[in-house]
C-alpha cells in the first residue's frame, strides 16, 4: 500500500501520464482494486490519467499572482500557444494548465514549466520562454 503513490508517480515520470493499463498493472502488483489506484491517481494535481505534452506549463492563478496581472500573462500564453487552459498543443509540445499557489508570490506572476520556475512574468517575456523548450 505505501508503495502505491510512489509507483503511480514513477509511471507519471516515465510515460508522462498514468494510463488505464498502467493502473491495472499496479493494481494487480499490489493486489488492490483498480478503483483504489484510480482514486489515488486522480487525487493529486501532478498526476494525469490523460497523455500530456512534452512540457507542462502550470501558471499560478492564486490571489498574489492575480494581483500582479497574472490573468494578462495567462491570456498571453493562451494566445501564443493557441490553446485554452487544460489543453495540449497539436504538436504535443505543451500542455497548458492553471494551477493554485506555487509559492513564488515574491516573483508574481509566476509559472512552472515542468520543474523550472519562471517569475516576474510579463506578456513580452512569454514568447522567449516558450522558445527555450523544444
Amino acid at each position: 500500500m505505501e508503495k502505491l503513490l510512489n509507483m503511480i508517480k514513477a509511471e507519471q515520470t516515465q510515460n508522462g501520464y498514468v494510463s488505464e493499463d498502467a493502473m491495472n498493472h499496479i493494481a494487480q502488483d499490489l493486489e488492490l482494486p483498480l478503483g483504489h489506484v484510480y482514486g489515488v491517481t486522480t487525487f493529486y494535481s501532478f498526476l494525469s490519467t490523460e497523455p500530456l505534452g512534452r512540457h507542462v506549463i502550470r501558471i499560478c492563478k492564486s490571489v498574489p499572482c492575480f494581483l500582479q496581472n497574472g490573468e494578462t500573462v495567462a491570456a498571453s500564453l493562451q494566445e501564443n500557444l493557441g490553446i485554452a487552459p487544460g489543453e495540449t498543443t497539436a504538436d504535443r509540445r505543451f500542455t497548458f494548465l492553471l494551477t493554485n499557489c506555487i509559492g513564488a508570490c515574491d516573483q508574481a506572476p509566476a509559472m512552472l514549466v515542468d520543474d523550472e520556475l519562471h517569475g516576474n512574468l510579463t506578456p513580452s517575456k512569454i514568447k522567449k520562454i516558450l522558445q527555450s523548450y523544444d
Binding site: L5, S45, F46, V63, L67, N100, C101, G103, C105, Q107
Partner: protein
C-alpha cells in the same frame, strides 16, 4: 522596527552547496551532551510554537511523542502550499543545513531513528539541493543514528495538513484523518510521530545554541522568538522579512513599501482579514499569525472578488472527505460567484453566515473549519461591499423586467 534576523542572518554567507560554509553542527553537538528530556525541557522553556500555522507548543508535542511507546517517527512538513507563503522555500533554498541540524536534534530528543521531509511537488526544483545537503550531512557523520527520506508530494494543498500528509506518505489519497488518535500517539504507520514545519525545525539549533532564556526574551508573552513573514500583493518590495514577534503589522508594511492599503490578509487563504483602520495590530499568536503570509490589497481592489477567488481555491483544494467542507465551500463559491456576476439575492449574506457557522463547527480539519474566516471577516469589516453587490443585482433585475 527593523528586521530581527536570527534564522535568516547568515544566509548571505552560507553556500547551500557546501556544508563547510555552515560552520559545523554545534547545536547538535551541544544537544547530544544533554539528555533527551533536557533538550525537550529547553525547547519547552523557549516557548517555541509551530510556525506552519496552527501554533501548537513545540516542546509539548515532542514530550508527548517521547513518552509514547514504540518506534518514533519525525516528519518535516515542507508542503508549503498556503497561498502567499514562501518562507520555507527561502530556508530550503538558502540554508538547508539549519533544517537538517534541527531535524537531527529533534530526532535525538524524541528518540526517532526514521525521519521524512515531505516536499511539495511544486518545489521539485529544490530536490537536488536538498539531496546534496543531506548527503554532505551524512558524510560528516551528523546523521549517524537517523535515516532521512525525502518524500515528494504530488500536488495537493491539503497535504500540508498533518494527517493528510501522513496518509500521502502511506501512499494513499491525502485526506484528513479523524482525531484522536493524535499523531504523537498513532501517526505515520500508526507509530508515534511528530510533524514540524521547516521554519519550526530551523529554530531548534538557534534555541539550543543560544539558550531558551535568550530566545524567550524575544517576542511577546504567548509568541516567542521571530517569525519569517512573506509579503506579497500591492507592495513595492515583496519578499521575506524576519521580524520579532509582536511587531505591528504597519511596520512590516512600511518595510515592504505598501501604500493606500484597503486590507491585508494575514496567514494565507484562510487567514484573518485586517482592514486599513487596524494596521497597528501586533503580529503574534494572540492576535494574527497563521503561516506568515501577508497579502496586501490597495484601495483599487474589490473585496467580494477577492473572497470569491479565495473560496474557489479552498473549494478546489478541499479533500472531499467531510460534507461540511466539500459542500460548504461549493455552495459558498456558488453564492459569491452570483454576487460577482451581478446575480445576488437578499438572502445571500444570511446564507453565507449560516454556512460559515456550520463549517466552523462541523468540518473535519483546519481547511473546512477556517475556510469561512475570510467570508466572516470581510462581512464584519466590509459589509457594505456585499450589500452594494446585492442592491446592484436587484437593480439590474428590475431594469431587465422593465425593459422586458
Amino acid at each position: 522596527m527593523p528586521e530581527k534576523k536570527i534564522l535568516t542572518d547568515k544566509i548571505e554567507k552560507i553556500d547551500p552547496g557546501r556544508i563547510g560554509s555552515y560552520g559545523g553542527f554545534k547545536a547538535l553537538k551541544k544537544a547530544l551532551g544533554m539528555s533527551p528530556e533536557d533538550v525537550i525541557a529547553e525547547i519547552k522553556a523557549s516557548g517555541l510554537r509551530g510556525r506552519g500555522g496552527a501554533g501548537f507548543p513545540c516542546g509539548a508535542k515532542w514530550e508527548m511523542a517521547q513518552k509514547a511507546k514504540g518506534d518514533k517517527i519525525l516528519i518535516c512538513n515542507a508542503d508549503e502550499g498556503e497561498v502567499g507563503t514562501f518562507k520555507d522555500r527561502h530556508l530550503l533554498t538558502h540554508n538547508p543545513f539549519l533544517l537538517l541540524e534541527g531535524m537531527a536534534i529533534a530526532a535525538y530528543a524524541i528518540e526517532a531513528r526514521k525521519a521524512y521531509i515531505y516536499l511539495r511537488a511544486e518545489y521539485r526544483y529544490l530536490l537536488e539541493g536538498l539531496l546534496n545537503a543531506l548527503q554532505q550531512a551524512e558524510e560528516k557523520g551528523y546523521l549517524k543514528d537517523l535515516d532521512i527520506t525525502i518524500q515528494e508530494g504530488a500536488g495537493a494543498y491539503i497535504c500540508g495538513e498533518e494527517s493528510a500528509l501522513m496518509n500521502s506518505i502511506e501512499g494513499k489519497r491525502g485526506e484528513s484523518r479523524l482525531r484522536p488518535p493524535f499523531p504523537t500517539q498513532a501517526g505515520l504507520f500508526k507509530k508515534p510521530t511528530i510533524i514540524n514545519n521547516v521554519e519550526t525545525l530551523s529554530n531548534i539549533p538557534i534555541i539550543i545554541n543560544k539558550g531558551a532564556k535568550w530566545y524567550s526574551k524575544l517576542g511577546t508573552a504567548e509568541s516567542k522568538g521571530t517569525k519569517i513573514f512573506c509579503v506579497s500583493g500591492d507592495v513595492e518590495n515583496p519578499g521575506v522579512y524576519e521580524m520579532e514577534m509582536g511587531c505591528p503589522l504597519q511596520e512590516l508594511l512600511d518595510l515592504a513599501g505598501a501604500e493606500n492599503v484597503k486590507w491585508v490578509q494575514v496567514g494565507g487563504s484562510t487567514g484573518a482579514v485586517i482592514p486599513f483602520g487596524m494596521l497597528q495590530k501586533p503580529l503574534g499568536y494572540e492576535t494574527v499569525m497563521g503561516s506568515g503570509a501577508v497579502m496586501v490589497f490597495d484601495q483599487t481592489r474589490d473585496v467580494v472578488d477577492f473572497v470569491y477567488r479565495t473560496l474557489e481555491f479552498l473549494n478546489e483544494e478541499s479533500c472531499g472527505k467531510c460534507t461540511p467542507c466539500r459542500e460548504g465551500t461549493e455552495v459558498m463559491v456558488e453564492i459569491l460567484g452570483r454576487l460577482v456576476n451581478g446575480e445576488g439575492v437578499e438572502e445571500d449574506i444570511d446564507n453565507l453566515r449560516q454556512l460559515s457557522d456550520t463549517m466552523v463547527r462541523a468540518a473535519l480539519c483546519g481547511l473546512g473549519q477556517a475556510a469561512p474566516i475570510p467570508v466572516l471577516d470581510t462581512l464584519a469589516y466590509f459589509r457594505k461591499d456585499y450589500e452594494d453587490r446585492i442592491s446592484q443585482s436587484i437593480l439590474l433585475r428590475s431594469l431587465k423586467t422593465i425593459n422586458g
